[in-house]
Symmetry: C2
Subunit: 392 residues, 2 copies
């Protein structure tokens, strides 16, 4: 059994048992969980009237370590450009909370957690939805004594959570910022994630989901799943710019199956490093939640009806070269919000970087985020910064 850098190795993990005060968490599948832990991290300070809370929601393989340095890896967190003093989500002004989603593997309850019978849940864990993840986040926020948030912000699957926040907490979410996301998972995306799931489940070390009990890990299958998904996160143009057909530390083909090309070496590295930080069953559950996501389902395909009564002010972001969650899918959200009389701005960032652009150096994106967040915070009457930061 390989060593995985999970919170079991970490000392500073912050976890809230959200079922202690709220009771069992009822899930969309009909089952309920009696014990649910949600791991989270915060930045900044909660204002005296608790009006400056920003929820940051992570994507498929993210976690609660959004800003600054990830204490598990001692490397930059996944959104260090966005969260911090003077950054778009300014921790001098906002109290930022990021959780590890329900079903995740960085301290929140998920399939790797110990179940009621004292053994790891494995695939006996109930299937989750994005709405379930947000229900758990709301419980956490409530447990911190917070009854409204200034903003929910997230990219990719994080954007799906943002949509759910605005729906589940009507009247309590001032601003909603879904980035590079969609209101319904496309057939193509279901297909790519199904490839990943099949790769994991084809690995004999998956052990029908009970690998933890068996002392094994389906690392090979999980690495293949990650490689397949990773290609969708980058535009073809970016792959061409970054790698094209350049060879990896060699002058000519080796005429074999080594990683002759840089793109091969890069993908192999993505796969190999991923298995050190992620649980294969979590990958199954979280991709399944994304597949199941379609806000229009309960409204006979009418997305507009899904936004009925939503009163957050929206800013929807997309990236021109994103083919994983396309600008067209963001526009569908915008059209439905418009039709539902929800205030919405829409920004498409011209970039060649593809889906992962929201994690990368995109000055226009950061500027637009800063502008929308601050203008909305000003309109809401939020203090420009914490008093003690401005004193003296």
């Amino acid at each position: 059994m390989s060593s995985v850098k999970t919170p079991q190795n970490a000392e500073q993990l912050r976890i809230a048992r959200i079922t202690d005060s709220g009771g069992p968490l009822l899930l969309a599948c009909g089952q309920s969980l009696d014990v649910v832990d949600i791991a989270y991290e915060t930045w900044g300070k909660l204002s005296p009237n608790k009006d400056n809370v920003v929820i940051v929601c992570h994507a498929l393989t993210g976690d609660q370590y959004a800003g600054g340095v990830n204490p598990i890896t001692d490397r930059p967190a996944w959104w260090p450009r966005m969260i911090g003093p003077g950054l778009p989500i300014d921790t001098n002004r906002f109290f930022v909370i990021a959780t590890n989603v329900l079903g995740g593997c960085m301290g929140s309850t998920g399939p790797a957690s110990i179940g009621p019978d004292g053994k790891a849940w494995g695939v006996r864990f109930p299937t989750l939805t994005i709405a379930d993840m947000v229900r758990a986040q709301i419980r956490l926020v409530e447990s911190l004594g917070i009854d409204r948030i200034f903003a929910a912000i997230g990219g990719s699957m994080g954007g799906m959570q943002v949509l759910e926040w605005a729906r589940q907490w009507k009247g309590r979410v001032a601003a909603a910022i879904p980035i590079a996301s969609a209101a319904r998972q496309s057939a193509q995306n279901i297909g790519f994630y199904e490839v990943g799931r099949q790769a994991i489940m084809a690995d004999p070390d998956w052990c029908e989901g009970a690998y933890l009990e068996a002392g094994k890990r389906p690392d090979r299958g999980l690495a293949v799943a990650r490689m397949a998904a990773h290609i969708t996160y980058v535009s073809e143009e970016a792959l061409k710019q970054k790698f094209d057909r350049r060879l990896q530390d060699r002058q000519d083909f080796t005429f074999g199956f080594d990683a002759d090309f840089q793109i091969e070496s890069y993908l192999r590295y993505q796969g190999a490093s991923f298995v050190d930080r992620f649980d294969a069953n979590s990958y199954l559950y979280i991709t399944r939640a994304m597949d199941y996501f379609d806000l229009s389902t309960e409204h006979e395909g009418q997305l507009t009806l899904a936004f009925d009564g939503v009163d957050a002010r929206f800013c929807v972001f997309s990236f021109s070269s994103d083919w994983h969650y396309t600008p067209e899918e963001s526009k569908a959200i915008v059209r439905a919000l418009n039709a539902a009389n929800v205030e919405v701005s829409y920004v498409t960032i011209e970039t060649s970087k593809g889906h992962d652009a929201f994690l990368l150096d995109e000055p226009e994106f950061e500027a637009a985020m800063t502008g929308f967040i601050n203008a909305t915070a000003d309109a809401c009457g939020l203090a420009a910064g914490l008093v003690d930061e401005h004193a003296g």
Copy 2:
């Protein structure tokens, strides 16, 4: 060891041992093969002056059974709409030859063939290039007493072979028709095929390539490889039209990892049925040959120089929604041919079907093929049909 429908089960296989007359086949990797069989199929009749030969080149997972019915499966061959009496490649006029590529698994010598030591080659088989495949095809054609061809036609990897035919047999190829192809494999495509190779090699039943000797088959890995590749053969629009988020024989989610969605069921079927007809090591070798394909490599990136002296008349086809081999990649071929003063027509077919459109019902494509083929044959002075077909 599962039963695989390969030529070992077939009775009517036509095979030529091309090394009998030509001696060992020297490969681009520097190695040579002493014994090479090429399996092939023909339709129509060779004209008395042997001027009506059309070579049809198959794509990654195709074989020599291009027209009519595949005798191994008793189902339609892979290009039945294109090859036959009165069809675009009219077998009343042309003598059509299709081979199974070198490295394939439908009767041609490949990694599943028995090597010099009496054991299956496995990954000891030398690495191949597209140029090697065409060298073997030329040997075959020569062994049939043919010293020029009217046309080379093929889609996807078949189009790469078409480009090689025009380069290797200058003065002997009248028409070249590369369809939905490219002159250099893109980083994105290398990436997708690397995912497939890693899926195969991650399967313990791959046995480091020696699965035939071990009495095993890496079916799970090969199925995942096929699933990943298959998504690239279809446009997102086509997936939406054909499947969208429709459920497979059920009214609601099962909240598990069964194939709830039609797209999942479809991909699983693609994977499961593929392993019945294809050899995993052949998949490694043939995808590698595609990765290595870049006509501009030997000319410092100048594709035009690769077409120096080429005198075939070209018709390059692409499909508007093909993101596996994009219209832009076809245009790059056209631009280079133009710059090299090679006669070339370019046709983009507007379709939502994606890459696989060349295999599907596309009336405009078939009409344009018919028009180009017949006009070029007329210009070459080919008889409009075989004499005995017109007698009486």
